[in-house]
């Protein structure tokens, strides 16, 4: 479904170059939920933005058998949608929920918008009473549900999830993750999910890639997280770090 070959993303001009993603290759099968984990600045979110066409990249990105060029066509956006990290920044503050959800339908000239907006609100477990509110009248978890609804409304085959729960309270995180899980089981969409939280990845994804300094250091099976049988030393370190702060353990970390 998603095939990334030798993807490289470089920011800045010639004096001040940062290689955010450095020759990454990945394959994600249809209906799979694939995780990208790594520390801040490891380039995991940049891969998502490159796949979405929001960042310029070199290398090849093939979505559903179609190679993507520099400019994405409209058809691409009906197949690939994205949920952003910060639900406070990803909804337009001057648009009602109704407008936010209707807009993709208008752009793609989809008929029967009224029913579709109601259905998708239902799907993310928000009632019709939310429809004409503004984002500032909603809580963080509700906003993220709206962002998920916006990504769902065009019935895409792939949803890119950029740390969809890291801006939310722990109690709300579980709700949103379960919602995303249900949606995938119901609709069979493919997820490419970025997270710095190994627990979230273990819950959501069968396979995941560990990233560091723009490179994939290991692609592992999330069942290995339970047994701790990760190959790369950095991955193991990340796993230990995800279990909480422990002075002795942190002191033992090597700067790999």
């Amino acid at each position: 479904m998603i095939e990334i070959e030798n993807l490289t993303v470089v920011f800045g001009d010639s004096d001040n170059r940062v290689t955010a993603v450095d020759g990454v290759s990945l394959k994600v099968a249809a209906g799979e939920s694939f995780g990208l984990v790594g520390e801040s600045g490891s380039g995991k979110s940049t891969i998502l933005r490159a796949v979405a066409g929001l960042a310029d990249s070199t290398g090849s990105i093939v979505i559903n058998g179609q190679k993507q060029g520099r400019k994405r066509d409209r058809n691409f956006y009906s197949q690939v949608q994205m949920v952003f990290q910060d639900p406070f920044g990803s909804l337009h503050p001057k648009h009602t929920i109704d407008r936010i959800l209707t807009e993709p339908l208008v752009v793609h000239d989809v008929p029967d918008r009224e029913a579709k907006v109601r259905a998708v609100l239902d799907q993310v477990q928000l009632g019709p009473s939310f429809r004409f509110r503004y984002p500032h009248q909603l809580s963080g978890g509700q906003r993220q549900r709206i962002a998920i609804a916006r990504a769902l409304i065009l019935r895409p085959k792939i949803i890119l999830l950029d740390e969809p729960t890291s801006a939310l309270d722990v109690s709300i995180q579980a709700e949103v993750l379960n919602l995303l899980d249900d949606i995938r089981n119901e609709l069979g969409v493919t997820y490419l999910m970025v997270s710095h939280d190994l627990g979230v990845v273990a819950h959501m994804c069968r396979r995941f890639a560990v990233m560091r300094q723009g490179k994939v250091v290991e692609v592992a099976d999330s069942r290995h997280l339970g047994t701790g049988t990760l190959e790369h030393a950095y991955s193991r370190q990340l796993l230990v770090a995800s279990k909480g702060y422990d002075r002795a353990v942190i002191d033992a970390f090597a700067d790999l």
Binding site: R49, A52, G53, L54, R72, R74, F76, Y77, S78, Q81, M82, F84, Q85, D86, G89, S90, L91, H92, P93, K94, H95, T96, D98, R99, E103, P104, V107, H108, S129, F130, F132, R133, Y134, Q137, A147, R150, L154
Partner: protein, 300 residues
């Protein structure tokens, strides 16, 4: 003043329609505005100006265009409330009819200059690159001249007349709006909600008009309403210099100009139109301050 059921409909947390959501938002803004007594004073001045302009023929006791030469330069009295000018015309009637000219000028400048500035500024900010460089250097070129001098040059080149005065003022008024719009656009350009809008597959124009402009309009409205006072003064200045309205038509600036030779002996001829200019300018400034409290999120 407003019935309880309408109030609860407006302030509902769960509006049932697009219209109710928008009306509720507007009502909340109005409540903030109404809390500011000075802003309300400004609004009252504006309403009075509009009423004066609309009902000028009923309000004015005398003909504003033709006077009786026997009545020239009479001081304020029961018959001529604010006195008469050197052609024997009633000054009060001329001020009332002059309100039409003033409203016409500021209305026309606002609906031409603000959208031009908005379009140029948001386009420059969103598109970037050489388009931005070109548009903003053009803006800088206009800004390099003092406003009144540039308006004078345009008005002189286009010829005297109300339409040309409006055009001259509009041509000099848009650059600050373009700058504000560009600055606002730059602050939202990298936001996630614009990335999300691009992810829907929306084209550049849809994003520009539907997503970027709504973010720029509030600060632009505030700036335009604060500029209104300046526009009235420039219009009055052009009228004073004879580049505004053609003579028999009443215009506050040219009325001040006509009275200046008798300013010491017949002070009322230029004082009352001057007070009218002053009050209306003040009114717009007060409204602008009130609107800033309502619309500008940074003020809070």
């Amino acid at each position: 003043m407003i019935s309880a059921s309408l109030r609860s409909w407006l302030l509902s947390d769960t509006p049932d329609s697009r219209f109710q959501a928008r009306a509720g938002r507007f009502y909340l803004g109005w409540l903030t505005f109404a809390k500011n007594p000075l802003a309300m004073l400004g609004l009252i001045i504006l309403v009075l100006l509009v009423v004066m302009a609309v009902f000028a023929s009923w309000i004015s006791p005398h003909d504003p265009l033709f006077g009786n030469l026997e009545d020239r330069l009479l001081p304020p009295s029961g018959k001529f409330w604010l006195g008469t000018d050197e052609n024997g015309r009633d000054i009060f009637s001329r001020i009332v009819f002059g309100a039409r000219t003033t409203l016409y000028i500021i209305g026309l400048v606002a609906v031409t200059a603000a959208p031009i500035g908005l379009l140029i500024g948001t386009t420059a900010g969103y598109v970037g690159g050489w388009v931005e460089t070109g548009l903003m250097r053009l803006t800088d070129a206009f800004l390099a001249f003092p406003k009144l001098i540039l308006a004078l040059a345009f008005a002189a080149a286009l010829g005297a007349g109300l339409e040309n005065a409006v055009l001259a003022i509009a041509l000099t008024a848009w650059p600050p709006y373009a700058r504000i719009a560009r600055a606002e656009t730059l602050t939202v350009r990298g936001s996630d909600y614009l990335a999300a809008a691009r992810m829907t597959g929306a084209g550049g124009w849809r994003i520009l008009f539907g997503h970027i402009m709504p973010m720029c309009i509030p600060s632009l409205i505030v700036r335009v309403s604060l500029d209104m006072a300046g526009i009235i003064l420039i219009a009055a200045g052009l009228g004073f210099l004879g580049l505004g309205v053609a003579p028999p038509q009443p215009e506050w600036g040219s009325m001040v100009s006509e009275g200046r030779s008798q300013i010491l002996e017949q002070w009322w001829v230029c004082t009352y139109p001057g007070i009218a200019i002053c009050i209306v300018s003040l009114g717009f400034n007060l409204i602008g301050d009130g609107l800033r409290d309502v619309l500008d999120p940074r003020g809070k």
